[in-house]
Amino acid sequence: MGSGIWVLALLVLHSVFEGIAGQEQELNHRTERISGSAGDVLEDDPVGRLKVFVYELPSKYNKKILQKDPRCLNHMFAAEIYMHWFLLSSPVRTFNPEEADWFYTPVYTTCDLTPNGLPLPFKSPRMMRSAIGLISTNWPYWNRTEGADHFFVVPHDFGACFHYQEEKAIERGILHMLKRATLVQTFGQRNHVCLKDGSIIIPPYAPPQKMQTHLIPPDTPRSIFVYFRGLFYDVGNDPEGGYYARGARASVWENFKNNPLFDISTDHPTTYYEDMQRAVFCLCPLGWAPWSPRLVEAVVFGCIPVVIADDIVLPFADAIPWEEIGVFVAEEDVPKLDTILTSIPIEVILRKQRLLANPSMKQAMLFPQPAQPGDAFHQILNGLARKLPHDNNVYMKSGQKILNWTAGPVGDLKPW
């Protein structure tokens, strides 16, 4: 009699679990959970895992710069401003620096714009040094660790190398004063001077509302095989080709301009976002720097990104398994791009589309105002939280000094 009840109970439990599994399978059929090398961390909540102290700098480092040029709120480097605003009203912020794990310095180094809207990096090193000088004299926390528990947002082309030309950026190297700090930047390339260990790579800023307004119904059939809009030759700076994008973009054009599967041109269509939603693959080749907002746009619109940039490090690479989501093509394989893309098995393509359809994936690439759970701000905080607890060698022993305040090019030493 007792065994009969056990059998009955087992049967009931079995059917219950079957029901749940069936539902999960249905969910999995539409999207898939995304877990990178750090585990299933995209949806982690950073609140309670870390505390951030925001230095109060005089407004000449942030507010006044923004007032002088409000265009800084819309360009692709706007993450530094929005990160500041987010931290000011975030629950991870603490007003007690003694209990803080991380210290944030709000200095807008990428807001000195030319009339055309491009940031000039020439004053940025001096501005950064001036800010660091200020916090080291007014608070004891910088000297305590020489910046090892401080983080800075440097979204410019080559991060903290503060130059737009790669050769000059490499020459300068990362600003000496930031040697021990954690850098939150958009630039990521392995074995490159301007990427130091422990940096957090973030996506460039793309306006979320603008992308939302251009959404089309998801049952619109994806009929474009490969899509790209942008320059192939930078005629102003590199007329022969071969320098810009290491010749990769020119190679794409020369090989595939006659191919009906490749919808590539230098046009500026008004339906750019809509077209991306009708494409299966979107090319994201490097330009003068390996990163671009195209990756963000491709992810938001469900178009599989084809990344053509050797050794690139993509945003939040420990939380997002980019290998499974995008297609990586070596620059030397560009002439074979059509063979590569048409020989991907259909199940793999379907899986990539499923991963891209996951809303947490799209959310992680965006900087919405106001912040939403799972967005790029939270991913940055999660990344910082994963670096905790700090090592013992973070704290300097008394009298020990690592940073040299006079290191770096002579022009940097002038006050700002």
Binding site: N255, P260, G287, E332, D338
Partner: protein, 481 residues
């Protein structure tokens, strides 16, 4: 990033002001090189000087100064005009990363699409779209019953083939009820046999009249006949009234899946306006449901026939504007269960089909099948989306056409072309002279008889595109002289 790059010239202007005087050396070298290359006739890289004249590069800084040129790989693009002098490979610094500097542009020897790959890509696209439809499209589609009245005439092949292809693309199970006036004919049967659809070919034993007014009424009766067949056989599905000359979008068949009992769609009316009509772009007239702000049906948009009152077509094929009726059947869809004798949850506002159409009652639109027209559901975003277009284009009712549109035996009339690659041979004048005086040639565009040719004017009037006919009239001139 391209913005950054495009900005670089301006920024270099900025840097020039700020840099030290030692940099003036490089512009001077640049000028020297320009002069040298102008003299030599081709451009060479300035780094040649650096390598020839500079001392051996300091080893520690060479790792940072990655200005090194790589040996360009074999398939380099030669087309940017003159050939480069490739400097010898510099002392290889141990670079385990990507090298900065000028790279070659790799182009494969045959940069054209491979047919097999294009085919494979299309397979991938088809499979992906199928998956998309499965995920986002209509779930559990109900079968579609398409009712089409038709009759054998010149333009039937044109219209019916178009409709046939549209229906073949509909992804849902479909049954096509074709009602033919004048009984089942071989013409229609041959056309229908080309499709792979489930076709029910119903004869209707009356001839299609010539007057448009009578024709509309007969078509309504033919549709009623089809509805009776549906009722007798208890066919299940959504009834769509697709006239053979109308144009349908495939989204229509997805949209009608939303109907519960009876729905109304917006129909674009393509009553063709003659060229002497208004010059301004008047919007397309639409027949369909009218909704208020909250999306409820409050009335109907119908076609304004006043501008065309005098010019309306009376006979089929007389070239004037064909006017639609007040509300076309094509703009309505219904659930076939409305017609069944017993169906659960059948609403009370539909009349029994057996009582409709008896005693000479004229059915003008499906609204006459209902007792109460207010329960009709507006479809297509409350009529804002136009998913089908009404069009009537017919030849004259006495126009003849080759049976099955096959020329058997082939035509024997040979008319010499104006320009031939071989020398002019005297033609065999095997044709009949229709007009004896070339000045009074008349043109009958609607006479489509097998042996007719349209004759145009002689060279005195403006040359038309019929060079053939100019040649023919030329021959007349020569003959008569």
């Amino acid at each position: 990033m391209k913005q950054t790059a495009a900005q670089q010239p301006n920024r270099q202007a900025f840097t020039a002001f700020r840099s030290s005087p030692g940099v003036l050396f490089w512009p001077a070298v640049h000028v020297l090189c320009c002069l040298l290359s102008a003299a030599a006739g081709f451009r060479f890289s300035r780094l040649l000087f650096l390598l020839l004249f500079s001392p051996s590069p300091p080893s520690s800084s060479s790792l940072h100064h990655r200005h090194l040129l790589r040996q360009p790989p074999p398939a380099i693009l030669p087309s940017p005009p003159p050939p480069h002098i490739h400097p010898p490979p510099p002392p290889a610094a141990a670079s385990n990363g990507v090298v900065v500097g000028r790279h070659g542009i790799r182009v494969r020897p045959w940069p054209h699409p491979n047919a097999a790959e294009v085919a494979r890509a299309h397979e991938i696209l088809a499979r992906l779209q199928q998956e998309q439809r499965r995920r986002y499209g209509v779930k559990d589609p109900r079968p579609v019953l398409v009712v089409t009245p038709t009759y054998a005439r010149t333009f039937q092949a044109l219209h019916l083939t178009g409709l046939l292809h549209s229906l073949m693309l509909v992804p849902h199970p479909l049954t096509w009820l074709v009602v033919e006036a004048g009984g089942v004919s071989n013409e229609t049967a041959a056309l229908l046999a080309r499709s792979r659809l489930a076709v029910v070919h119903l004869p209707f034993h009356e001839q299609m009249p010539v007057r448009w007014h009578d024709r509309h009424r007969l078509e309504a009766r033919m549709r009623l006949h089809a509805l009776r067949v549906i009722r007798e056989n208890q066919l299940d599905g959504i009834i769509v009234f697709a006239d053979d000359s109308n144009v349908h979008r495939l989204e229509l068949f997805d949209e009608v899946q939303k109907v519960e009992w009876m729905g109304a769609l917006s129909v674009g009316i393509l009553a063709h306006s003659q060229r002497e009509g208004e010059k301004g772009q008047s919007p397309l007239p639409i027949q369909g449901p009218a909704c208020n702000a909250s999306g409820h049906l409050i009335g109907w948009h119908t076609f304004n026939t006043l501008p065309y009152a005098k010019k309306a077509a009376a006979f089929v094929g007389d070239g004037a504007t064909v006017l639609p009726m007040k509300l076309e059947w094509a703009g309505f869809v219904m659930n076939s269960r409305l017609l069944w004798r017993e169906a659960e949850e059948k609403p009370g506002w539909v009349r029994d089909l057996d009582e409709v159409g008896i005693n000479g009652e004229e059915i003008e639109s499906p609204l006459d099948l209902l007792k109460d027209a207010s329960s009709v559901e507006p479809l297509g975003n409350c009529g804002k989306k136009v998913l089908l277009w009404w069009l009537r284009a017919e030849a004259r009712s006495d126009s003849k056409f080759p049976a099955g549109w096959v020329m058997d035996p082939p035509l024997e009339i040979i008319v010499p072309a104006k320009r031939t690659p071989w020398p002019e041979a005297p033609p065999d004048l095997a044709f009949q002279v229709i007009a004896d005086d070339e000045d009074h040639v008349e043109v009958h565009p609607s006479k489509k008889t097998r042996s007719s040719r349209s004759k145009r004017s002689s060279r005195k009037k403006k040359k038309r595109e019929a060079h053939v006919d100019a040649q023919v009239s030329d021959l007349f001139n020569r003959q008569e002289k």
